[in-house]
């Protein structure tokens, strides 16, 4: 369980995020949505221990501010929006960096094979020997996800749930890989872990999120299940855009929804 109470974040004297109450439960995908500049990434950075905050954050019952980097690394793994590398690492070497803390939670002796297994999960079988810098943006993003998966391979460790923090995990991916990645997230929660994901695609959010947190100008505008939150009024207010939920396009205009995927 991640409990956030009355968290505010100031950067250079300016309040970016204020008064956030937020819970992420094991077994759930918690999606954070909101327009650009609403403070989603800033909030996730505070949750990752990267930014100072006022208020209280507890990770599995322990105060985040009292945890050392190595301790919080046991409870959660973080996927940033994009990662550039300064040296020519191979894909396998990058993914293996996820194991640097040594608490993957895989069975003893399995760690050596985790990079290949993680790469297979993100549909990058056979990419282990390629150079990271030679990959496309979407492929790099999936390599980073494989690294993150290695860090918290077991969704539950010593009886405690672990979490994936994903900052726009599907923003540079094609539709097939968007579904693959979101299914990985959902599968992680089904096996006892928790996911906090910043998403922009409202259809994917509606499909995969158990709980939606809508951010607007640094504050929470709404919280709840997709059915409760995604309403015409809220979307118009938060995204400043007159859209109607559940309205089909007229006549012969094609549209493709992720919900139509046949598994």
């Amino acid at each position: 369980m991640i409990e956030v109470r009355d968290v505010s974040i100031d950067i250079a004297g300016k309040r970016i995020v204020g008064g956030i109450d937020f819970d992420a439960r094991p077994g759930e995908v918690a999606a954070i949505v909101g327009p650009n500049g609403s403070g989603k990434t800033t909030f996730l950075k505070a949750l990752s221990g990267e930014l100072a905050y006022a208020g209280r954050v507890a990770l599995n019952g322990r105060d985040l501010s009292s945890m050392k980097p190595a301790e919080s690394a046991v409870h959660r793994a973080v996927l940033p929006q994009a990662t550039t590398l300064s040296f020519p690492f191979t894909v396998r070497e990058v993914v293996k960096l996820g194991l640097v803390g040594g608490r993957s939670g895989a069975l003893p002796g399995e760690d050596a094979r985790l990079p290949e297994r993680a790469l297979a999960r993100v549909d990058l079988d056979g990419f282990a020997g390629r150079f990271y810098q030679e990959l496309s943006g979407g492929e790099q993003q999936r390599v980073q996800l494989a690294r993150v998966l290695c860090q918290v391979w077991a969704p539950v460790l010593n009886g405690k749930p672990r979490y994936l923090f994903l900052d726009e995990p599907v923003s540079s991916l094609d539709i097939k890989h968007q579904l693959i990645i979101m299914n990985i997230a959902r599968d992680f929660t089904r096996r006892g872990g928790g996911v906090v994901a910043i998403l922009h695609d409202l259809n994917l959010t509606a499909m995969y999120a158990d709980r939606i947190f809508v951010m607007h100008r640094g504050r929470l505008a709404a919280t709840g299940s997709p059915q409760d939150v995604l309403s015409d009024d809220l979307i118009e207010k938060v995204f400043d855009c007159r859209l109607r939920v559940g309205v089909l396009p007229a006549g012969n205009v094609p549209f493709v929804l992720p919900q139509s995927s046949v598994s």
Binding site: S48, P69, P80, S86, F89, R92, E93, G126, A128
Partner: protein
């Protein structure tokens, strides 16, 4: 023993998964060990005098009575008191510079960082020159108190100061801009050199001559006493660096991500900065300005074995030591019986190499 380790390596190669260069890295490190041994032998045997290392070694190993006692005594003096300390000092300095380069590149997340290029060596030099010029007068109490440690300590603090300033200036939110780093390094080096210039202006003729030769870089004048004063500093710093390897690997993903992976980033950075300053300071104190070792060696090795610091750091130590011994052998023999300052040799070989790296990286490195 050797057979066994080679068999193990071949096995490691056969089992190596795709994209795993650790097997290759181990083989390269083994070869570099042989390379260093060869460079040591070559160094021991070459020099202005015709003293034969082989016969001295033979006498020493077999305990045989030398046929010509006087000649043998002269040879053994040359070998033990001139060439051997010089070789050991060369190895220490070469390893210190190469490993410091690799660590700084990891720390700045930037393959162009080098203690010489970005002003760390200039800071160390300033520290050393302060002792050279003022050690006998204003700072006499300090030098008598610290003895032979005064010079390396002053160089260490000079290097530390410039590294800390550089890091503060060049790093924003965990990212280092190449341009800012190089420009800040130039500014720092210019400042350190200006202050050094003031000291040189104050120096007398004898100090001036010492300073000139020292600043060109030389392993000449290596003695067991010098090794005694800087050896422990360099060895301690080098021994600490491998503990940074995993953290530096994670740092390649950025400071934030390294933290997410559980690396105590602040502690890592400060340990690295202090280690580099100590190693570079000690190296500069005894050998002056020997440039480009810190950029050429790690770069060559990354092409061979990849950027994994667990292998890159020891391999850099070995190759740095070997290359400096070879450069010193060239410096000693090319204009024999005189000798060229080794800093000239490394700069003539290293500067074009650096330009070549820039050329290759053009468009990749954001300058």
């Amino acid at each position: 023993m050797v057979d066994q380790s080679i068999a193990g390596l071949v096995k490691a190669m056969a089992n190596a998964s795709e994209g795993d260069r650790s097997g290759r890295a181990r083989i390269v490190i083994l070869l570099l060990c042989f390379g260093l041994a060869a460079a040591m032998l070559l160094s021991l045997m070459s020099g202005a005098s015709d003293a034969s290392a082989v016969s001295v070694l033979k006498d020493w190993l077999l305990g045989a009575a030398p046929s010509d006692a006087a000649l043998s005594a002269r040879d053994s003096l040359i070998i033990y008191d001139i060439r051997l300390p010089r070789i050991i000092l060369g190895m220490l300095v070469g390893a210190a510079l190469a490993v410091s380069g690799a660590v700084m590149q990891g720390l700045f997340r930037n393959p162009l960082a080098d203690p010489g290029l970005i002003g760390v060596s200039a800071g160390s030099s300033l520290g050393a020159v302060i002792i050279f010029v003022l050690g006998a007068t204003v700072l006499a109490p300090v030098t008598t108190l610290l003895g032979t440690l005064a010079l390396p300590l002053a160089a260490f603090f000079g290097g530390l100061a410039s590294t800390l300033v550089l890091y503060q200036v060049a790093t924003r939110r965990g990212q280092t801009s190449v341009a800012t780093m190089l420009l800040a390094g130039i500014a720092l080096a210019a400042l350190a050199m200006a202050l050094t210039g003031i000291l040189i202006f104050m120096a007398d003729d004898r100090q001036l001559r010492d300073l000139t030769f020292w600043s060109l870089g030389s392993l000449g004048g290596a003695t067991w006493a010098k090794i005694g004063s800087v050896g422990p500093i360099i060895i301690t710093a080098l021994a600490a660096m491998p503990f940074l390897a995993r953290g530096l690997n994670a740092l390649a993903l950025g400071e934030a991500t390294a933290g997410h992976l559980g690396i105590p980033v602040q502690r890592l950075k400060y340990t690295a900065i202090i280690g580099v300053s100590a190693a570079v300071g000690a190296a500069v104190a005894v050998s002056g300005g020997i440039g480009f070792v810190g950029i050429v060696v790690p770069h060559l090795l990354r092409l061979l074995i990849g950027p994994d610091n667990r292998y890159l750091l020891p391999a850099s130590a070995l190759l740095g030591a070997s290359l400096l011994l070879l450069a010193d052998a060239v410096a000693r023999t090319i204009v024999a019986p005189a000798e060229l300052p080794i800093g000239i040799v490394t700069a003539i070989a290293g500067a074009p190499f650096f330009l070549w790296i820039l050329l290759r990286k053009r468009g990749v490195v954001d300058l």
